[in-house]
């Protein structure tokens, strides 16, 4: 049996180990609301075994170190899901703003048919020409017609400007995201370096740095999806695939090999610049919204305005007299009523008689005309039909984005729950541990006390 002094010594070690465990529990409790924190545990170990005349004997307990409870696969999965979620969310936001920019809402029958939106303006425009056909000499009708025409062109122009603004804002968003990505790449490279330095002798011990790096990785994933590879020395390698499937190295251990940049249409990285093939992340979501449904909506408005200009001018100015058109411009952004048209000079008919309404009737008839792209027109269907389809189409894009975001949020939540199941802090559990370690500490102290009393007996009382 080891001597009393040896026992005293090992008891001290045990007390130290229990204090370390208590301290770790305290740290876990302190980080209960820190989502990027992974709970920690003290690893107990034996100080060693020695051979004694009475057999092999343990030197007692000691705290070997602090271990972090992380599941690397779940961490990667969380990052992936975050990336998908933020991609969908960015897309959703883009569509929401496009929908707001279009400004076409539905009003109930109880409040009467609304006059808001391009749809109503189109109808009012064509209806004004019917009124003109009915009262070709009325100044009031002519004034109303010109006003309705201006309202239509104003709404088309405004919608186009707003959608343009939405696209510009998405560009700005992407540019900001790209610079955040580059900052994060630098930060992760620095963290890689620090972790590898701290963990030269003991792998996996730089727990707080690893927490930080994981948090940064998740931030990065929200912007840009990267392939993460563990290099084994505590550092990570981050890469992204370009459009031809070749990996572009972004971070290799402690160095940033390539940064990413935005050329206005694509995200590129490396030299020579290779276009990255992004499948998720907010940058991809913004790009998709910008070049997808928002652009489609703008194209549709342009087609609508273009066809409107062509058809109305052809009906208003059948013999193509120079300066005799009704509309100027070529698309939604430039459509305008010709400036020289006044209520007096507005033509209702061919000019043969003041009551001739052939032109007004021809233009009013355009409202019911069915166009076809295969027949050389810019749109399919009637003006209002095409517009309704365009509105339904952006609504469809947004509605699909909404449900994708909802589903994806559920998935992300599930994966996060799984990870929390491994890494998250449970307050009850930690409190139980707190009591457990407190008792263990008290027990070891008790042993210390007993040994101390024994020593007292040996040192002071024996032979007295």
């Amino acid at each position: 049996m080891a001597g009393l002094f040896a026992t005293l010594n090992s008891t001290v070690k045990a007390i130290t180990a229990h204090s370390a465990a208590l301290e770790t529990t305290g740290k876990n409790l302190a980080n209960v609301n820190n989502t990027s924190y992974a709970r920690q545990r003290v690893i107990y170990g034996d100080r060693g075994t020695i051979a004694t005349p009475t057999g092999a004997e343990s030197l007692g307990l000691e705290a070997l170190g602090v271990q972090q409870l992380r599941d690397q696969l779940l961490d990667l999965q969380v990052a992936r899901e975050i990336s998908i979620t933020s991609g969908y969310e960015a897309e959703q936001k883009g569509y929401q703003r496009a929908q707001a920019a279009l400004g076409q809402s539905i009003e109930s029958t109880t409040t009467g048919t609304s006059d808001s939106g391009i749809g109503a303006a189109l109808d009012n425009f064509f209806n004004s020409f019917q009124s003109l056909a009915g009262s070709p000499t009325s100044d009031g009708v002519r004034e109303t017609l010109l006003q309705n025409a201006t309202i239509l062109t104003d709404r088309l122009q405004l919608a186009d400007q707003r959608l343009q603004q939405v696209q510009d804002d998405l560009d700005t968003q992407i540019t900001t995201d790209v610079s955040t990505v580059n900052d994060l790449l630098n930060t992760i490279a620095e963290l890689n370096e620090q972790i590898s330095r701290f963990e030269v002798n003991a792998a996996g011990t730089a727990v707080d740095l690893r927490d930080q790096r994981q948090a940064r990785l998740e931030e990065l994933a929200a912007k840009l999806p990267v392939t993460v590879k563990d290099l084994g020395d505590g550092t990570l390698q981050l890469s992204a695939k370009d459009t031809s499937g070749v990996s572009v190295m972004l971070v290799n251990g402690a160095t940033v090999d390539n940064t990413v940049s935005f050329d206005g249409t694509q995200i590129t990285a490396g030299t020579p610049a290779a276009t990255l093939n992004l499948a998720s992340g907010s940058i991809q979501g913004s790009l998709k919204a910008k070049t997808g449904a928002v652009q489609t909506l703008r194209d549709n408005l342009d087609a609508l305005a273009g066809q409107l200009i062509t058809s109305v001018n052809a009906a208003y100015n059948p013999s193509s007299v120079a300066g005799g058109n009704f509309f100027n411009g070529t698309e939604a952004g430039s459509i305008a009523v010709v400036g020289t048209i006044t209520s007096a000079s507005l033509k209702a008919g061919d000019g043969s008689a003041s009551g001739n309404n052939s032109i007004a009737l021809a233009i009013a008839g355009l409202a019911s005309k069915t166009f076809s792209i295969s027949g050389g027109a810019a749109i399919d269907g009637t003006f209002v039909g095409f517009y309704s389809k365009s509105v339904a189409s952006i609504g469809q894009s947004l509605s699909a984005a909404n449900s994708r975001v909802e589903d994806q949020n559920n998935i992300e939540e599930l994966v996060r729950k799984q990870r929390d199941g491994v890494s998250g802090v449970s307050m009850d559990e930690e409190l139980a541990d707190l009591l457990k370690f407190q008792r263990a500490f008290q027990a070891s102290s008790r042993v210390f006390n007993v040994v101390d009393e024994l020593l007292d007996t040996v040192v002071n009382r024996l032979g007295a």
Binding site: Q130, S131, G349, G355, S388, L398, M427
Partner: protein, 297 residues
């Protein structure tokens, strides 16, 4: 599965958030009676609604076209009817004049016919608003121009044109509420007949009187036919108005079907959601309050 403090809280928060979003949406639907507001709410339905509402606006426009057409045709009717009254009196005078008359009597009738001529010219040049009614589409020129000798009308010419004002009553139907060229020309002829009658009476020319009388009967026939045609047009316009009203009601129903909320169903759903929301709040308060911390000291 191991449940952590954060998992519990995240669960509670997301559940409460989901429920309150749902609750807010249902509440808006109940309070406005409207199911969809933005294209995202139900894209297909929004597309249909926009088309239906456009149709409604079109119907409203056709209805106001019909009103305008009816006004024009009523104005035409009253003009023609007044001329018909003149024609009746003229025929009467012609019949009276065909008997043996002294020249002073005959001249007195001639004076009355002269008044009738002036009256008819005024009626034939009658206007609706600023537009002349009996001149085709030449709305801004008096359609009947008189040539006068010593203040008396001796000839009348037609200055209007052969076109007829037309208005759409639906995508396929148009209506011409005013008179056609034949009627307009017959008005000129009627004036000419009146002039002949006056001149015959003035000179007490019995054979001229007989010719004028026969011609007057002919032009009265044309007038009566025009009046009948005009009545037909009014009936047609009124039939269209009824049809438009029916279509409008039908469309309103369709729009309501797309846009309006099924109130009883939504209220039931809202009540369910409220119950769930309350339950979530209550249970979460209970769970969040409990901790091992409460039991150890």
């Amino acid at each position: 599965m191991r449940i952590t403090t954060n998992t519990v809280q995240d669960n509670i928060v997301s559940q409460i958030q989901n429920l309150s979003t749902k609750q807010a949406k249902l509440q808006t639907q109940v309070s406005t009676g409207q199911r969809i507001f933005q294209p995202e709410d139900d894209p297909a339905s929004v597309g249909r609604t926009l088309n239906l509402q456009s149709e409604q606006r079109k119907i409203t426009q056709y209805a106001s076209n019909a009103t305008r057409a009816l006004e024009l045709s009523q104005a035409t009717f009253s003009g023609l009817n007044a001329i018909k009254t003149v024609s009746d009196r003229a025929s009467e005078i012609a019949t009276l004049g065909s008997g043996a008359l002294s020249s002073s009597q005959s001249q007195a009738y001639a004076t009355e016919v002269n008044q009738l001529i002036e009256q008819t010219l005024e009626l034939a040049n009658s206007r609706f608003g600023t537009d002349y009614l009996f001149g085709g589409t030449k709305l801004d020129t008096a359609p009947f121009a008189a040539t006068r000798t010593d203040g008396k009308i001796t000839a009348v010419s037609y200055e209007g044109n052969s076109e007829q004002v037309s208005l759409p009553l639906s995508e396929s139907a148009t209506v011409s509420p005013t008179t056609d060229e034949a009627t307009n020309l017959s008005l000129r002829d009627f004036l000419k007949n009146l002039i002949d009658l006056r001149d015959s009476l003035d000179t007490n020319n019995s054979s001229g009187l007989a010719t004028a009388q026969a011609a007057l009967i002919d032009s009265e026939d044309v007038l009566v036919a025009s009046l009948a045609r005009n009545g037909g047009i009014q009936t047609r316009i009124e039939a269209h108005q009824d049809q438009l009203k029916d279509r409008s009601t039908e469309l309103e129903k369709l729009v309501s079907g797309e846009v309006d909320v099924d109130l009883p169903e939504t209220i039931v759903k809202l009540t369910q959601t409220q119950t769930a929301y309350e339950a979530a709040l209550q249970s979460s308060v209970k769970i969040m309050q409990i901790s091992l911390l409460d039991y150890i000291n």
